[in-house]
Amino acid sequence: MSTLGRVFDLAQVSRRELNQALHNAAGGESFEVVNPRGAHAVACGITADIDVVVRGSVGYYCAGMHQQGRVRVEGNASTGLAENIMSGEVHITGNATMSAGATGCGGLLVVGGNSGARCGISMKGVNIVVGGNVGHMSAFMAQAGNLVVCGDAAADLGDSIYEAQIFVRGDVESLGADCVEKEVRPEHVDTVSRLLAAAGEAASGVDPSNFRRYGSARRLYNFTIDDVDAAQAAARAARWDAPVGGVYGESAVREMQRERSDELAESLDDGREDAG
């Protein structure tokens, strides 16, 4: 990266000015963004082979619709990081909140910390490497590409997945409907190894042979009545089966839920019957 990058201070200039400059840039240019202070849509819509470093945390849709260039965020990112990324690379050093890499068609997204709910939702070819954990319903309806998770995955991983591959090194709280564990063959270790190398510092020292592989059981491609149980499980997972925890342990919470007012439960259940 050139050391002669232009500096945009978002405390001084507008985000629109920054993004316009990035859209006008020629390949090979480099940029530095300071004082992002959680601003939305920072470095969105880049199409040229440029380098952008953002010093600080960003808001929603950072590096959305990204092509060719490289964006590095030294901080955290909010909803929709690198949404619909087409090619190029987006790295963040911190945590991402919901829907990182959503609908991404290509390129590489690296999250150094944890990624929140629905990481890689409907991914269509992007490669995502997460140094920490991913939230619930990650890779929901994922269609192509690879999601590599160096930590743990929360509930309903890979729900209704098509042909993407998921690799998790840590624990998987539960698999979503039609997502199953699959054999890890040498070509899969090669894939993980290549992606960990591309992720750089976010995955340094991680052994590619320590991952388990998950993918589609392909029972939901074409619905048949024999698969009604799996389809209903998918619907339930999306509504009710989320984890319960908090300041109490899970078992204590479930005990309290059992002890809750039967009278109100009956009243609300009556309402559901009326509505039906």
Binding site: G94, M98, G135, A238, V247, Y248, M256
Partner: protein
């Protein structure tokens, strides 16, 4: 949409500027809810003395006769001060009885909150203007919640703005929408809760109030909410000695939390937190779905 902010001072460092910091956070969330706004501020108060914040909805109300009548009804000393179109009553008497008396006897008034530590203000208008009108910036205390509203389920009115009180020194702000609030409202009315608006979030507040009156802790009440409230929500709940956060099991409505040695802050978007002193070094994370988070001065 809607915007939520909450700021809880763990130490004395920022308590003198709680209002100013909350106003900055609220201002950042103006885009998420330009219809109306409100805030609740908690300070030490005086033990045994209840404050009741009342919205008149009009200016130039002569509150002194109301205070005199309330004093007679409670058989306890009552003072009152007007703050624009709000009034704050203060009494050594029964706070809950005072709240009900004001609802029953002051035509057109809405009781916004009661308790020894809470004061609560709300209005239709752009959040910056609401904060300025009620002088949020000058307020001190331990913690505050605020809300910017983009109405979806009920009308844009001052009474329909957030926060909603849920019992003594307890209030709630909500981003989302509830789908079973009508039936739940009827159930709660049959069990002693009284509602002052058609707002779905007030039903959530009433639900928590009912659970707490029935002997639940705030955390137990929130566990019940996971089962009994149907819809989308990120809630922030203020209590006398802290605040709590709950997101529904799908967790579509945003929330971000940051913590330093001196404060815990939550907001719908990070940019509200980014303006706080020390935010750069704060630990920042997204609260998990269906999980109860709480912070307490006692802890």
């Amino acid at each position: 949409m809607c915007g939520i902010v909450g700021l809880f001072c763990k130490t004395d460092t920022h308590r003198h500027e709680l209002g100013r910091l909350t106003e900055v956070m609220l201002g950042e969330m103006g885009d998420r809810g330009p219809d109306s706004a409100g805030f609740a501020v908690y300070d030490a108060g005086r033990p045994g003395r209840t404050r009741i914040t009342v919205l008149a909805g009009r200016l130039s109300v002569d509150w002194a006769p109301v205070a005199a009548d309330l004093e007679a009804a409670l058989n306890a000393e009552v003072t009152v001060r007007a703050v624009h179109d709000h009034a704050v009553f203060s009494t050594d008497g029964d706070g809950r009885a005072a709240r009900q008396w004001l609802i029953d006897h002051v035509a057109g008034a809405t009781v916004l909150a009661y308790g020894s530590q809470i004061e609560l203000y709300k209005a239709v208008g752009y959040p910056d203007q609401v904060a300025e009108r009620y002088d949020l910036a000058s307020r001190t205390g331990t913690h505050a919640l605020a809300h910017t509203r983009m109405a979806t389920e009920s009308a844009i009115t001052t009474a329909g703005s957030h926060p909603f009180a849920t019992g003594a020194d307890t209030c709630l702000v909500h981003n989302g929408s509830l789908s079973n609030h009508n039936r739940l409202r009827r159930f709660l009315e049959a069990h002693g809760e009284s509602f002052q608006t058609e707002n779905d979030s007030e039903v959530a507040a009433g639900y928590l109030s009912w659970r707490i009156r029935s002997g639940d802790s705030i955390s137990e009440a929130l566990v019940g909410a996971l089962d009994d409230l149907d819809g989308f929500y990120t809630f922030a709940i203020g209590v006398a000695d802290g605040f709590a956060i709950l997101r529904d099991p799908i967790a579509c409505k945003p929330a971000v939390v940051a913590e330093t040695d001196d404060w815990v802050a939550m907001s719908s978007e990070y940019r509200a937190i980014a303006r706080l002193p020390g935010a750069v070094d704060a630990e920042v994370w997204e609260p998990e779905p269906a999980r109860i988070y709480s912070w307490s001065l006692a802890a």
